[in-house]
């Protein structure tokens, strides 16, 4: 009986020791769980309605924003479903800055991806998942210029240093997202 007790004690000690070897992630202690979104999809219904949106504040560069930031927008049209008014014009809405893509060499523009639109009376999952807004795309002339200068090395490579445009958003510029009733 004593032997069995000793064996069990050793086993228990070994297990406890093995568990203590697990590296814990100490930085997650204060985190608060996010709200879960029910994500059922059924694409039988082809109906979709556009929603025009505008920014409330102008944005001069993507550097003014950070990923995860909630920004304010405004609906620019009355949204009807089956002749019933769903969202009134000038309703304030919110969106999350999901991803910021900085501008790059070769004229590649910066862009921001907005997501998680919050519109009264509409579920998040029934809206367009994302809206990407680009800066000025200078690659349209950079690449042809690079290829034209290729016979004169290294002039073609110098076009690498032309950077793409920043994301500039005016308050009168209208962007469109879609509402999918089903």
């Amino acid at each position: 009986m004593n032997k069995i007790f000793i064996i069990f004690s050793i086993l228990f000690f070994n297990l406890a020791f093995a568990n203590s070897q697990i590296v814990e992630d100490e930085f997650v202690k204060d985190l608060i769980p996010e709200e879960k979104i029910e994500n059922k999809y059924n694409f039988e219904n082809t109906q979709k309605t556009f929603i025009n949106i505008r920014f409330l504040e102008p944005i001069k560069s993507e550097k003014e924003l950070y990923e995860g930031q909630i920004i304010d927008l405004i609906v620019d049209n009355n949204v009807f479903i089956k002749k019933e008014l769903l969202v009134k014009r000038n309703t304030k809405i919110k969106a999350k800055v999901n991803t910021i893509i900085t501008s790059g060499m070769n004229g590649i523009p910066a862009s921001i991806i907005l997501s998680d639109f919050e519109i009264p009376n509409i579920k998040k999952e029934n809206l367009s998942p994302a809206l990407e807004i680009f800066g000025q795309d200078r690659s349209l002339f950079v690449f042809p210029l690079k290829w034209a200068l290729t016979p004169l090395p290294p002039t073609g490579s110098l076009t690498n240093f032309i950077k793409g445009g920043k994301v500039k958003i005016k308050t009168n510029k209208i962007y469109t997202i879609y509402y999918y009733p089903d």
């Binding site: 590296v23 814990e24 992630d25 930085f27 999901n98 060499m105 070769n106």
Partner: protein, 229 residues
């Protein structure tokens, strides 16, 4: 003597055919698995662009010259990647990373030709973007985004530097993925299903400084932070 020779040849031929059948069946199984996960991600994320998925049992290195995802709008799972994949989350991670690459070549000048050139011209920049988007895609499709950390952690080596390189340091990629999960989907870290996973443990072991920066960033998003190593 002749009879023995003929029967040996027939046996060999039959064995070769049987082997081919076994391999074909294995490939079909893998292809079905890839298709199911791929289309689930496309549907769950309401991606309105066509992308197909393929399993290729040749090494990626041999095909790099012909980058299929850019030209054919398809996601190719190469055997050298697949052999490192152990769970559905990890396979979803690889596929979710490649989907934005394939869909991005739809928009813009020349039916997406210019967009594809841009992806080739700035691979380092888009590498981080696709990692972040992959996390979102995975969560929406019901997969655990920590699978992406595990997949990258055990598949991509750590280079000496990334200043003069077309790719980011793997540790930096992992840090941005962790940051994405930390800020947007913390429940996966709070109820961590992978905490006992040996690869995830190795990630925790090798990423302490970067995770510390993430935790500091969480306190002040507009602050000036040291870049991830």
């Amino acid at each position: 003597m002749k009879k023995i020779l003929i029967s040996t040849l027939v046996l060999l031929a039959l064995a070769a055919i049987a082997n081919q059948d076994i391999k074909l069946n294995e490939d079909k199984k893998i292809q079905a698995e890839i298709n199911e996960i791929g289309f689930k991600i496309l549907n769950a994320n309401r991606i309105e662009k066509r992308v197909v998925f393929a399993y290729d049992d040749t090494d990626k290195r041999n095909i790099l010259k012909n980058n299929k995802p850019l030209t054919k709008r398809q996601v190719v799972v190469f055997s050298d990647i697949y052999k490192n994949i152990e769970t559905e989350d990890e396979l979803a991670a690889y596929i979710a990373r490649e989907i934005p690459r394939a869909t991005r070549s739809y928009d813009g000048l020349g039916n997406g030709f210019l967009a594809a050139v841009k992806l080739k011209a700035a691979p380092k920049k888009y590498e981080l973007v696709f990692d972040k988007l992959a996390v979102d895609y995975m969560v929406k499709a019901g997969y655990n985004p920590l699978g992406l950390i595990i997949h990258i952690s055990k598949t991509y080596p750590q280079t000496r530097q990334d200043k003069i390189s077309a790719h980011n340091l793997t540790s930096r990629r992992l840090a941005y993925i962790y940051e994405r999960i930390y800020f947007n989907y913390p429940s996966y870290l709070i109820n961590n299903e992978y905490i006992d996973n040996v690869y995830y443990q190795n990630y925790l072991l090798t990423s302490r400084e970067n995770r510390k920066i993430t935790a500091q960033k969480a306190k002040n998003r507009f602050g000036q932070w040291q870049d991830y190593e």
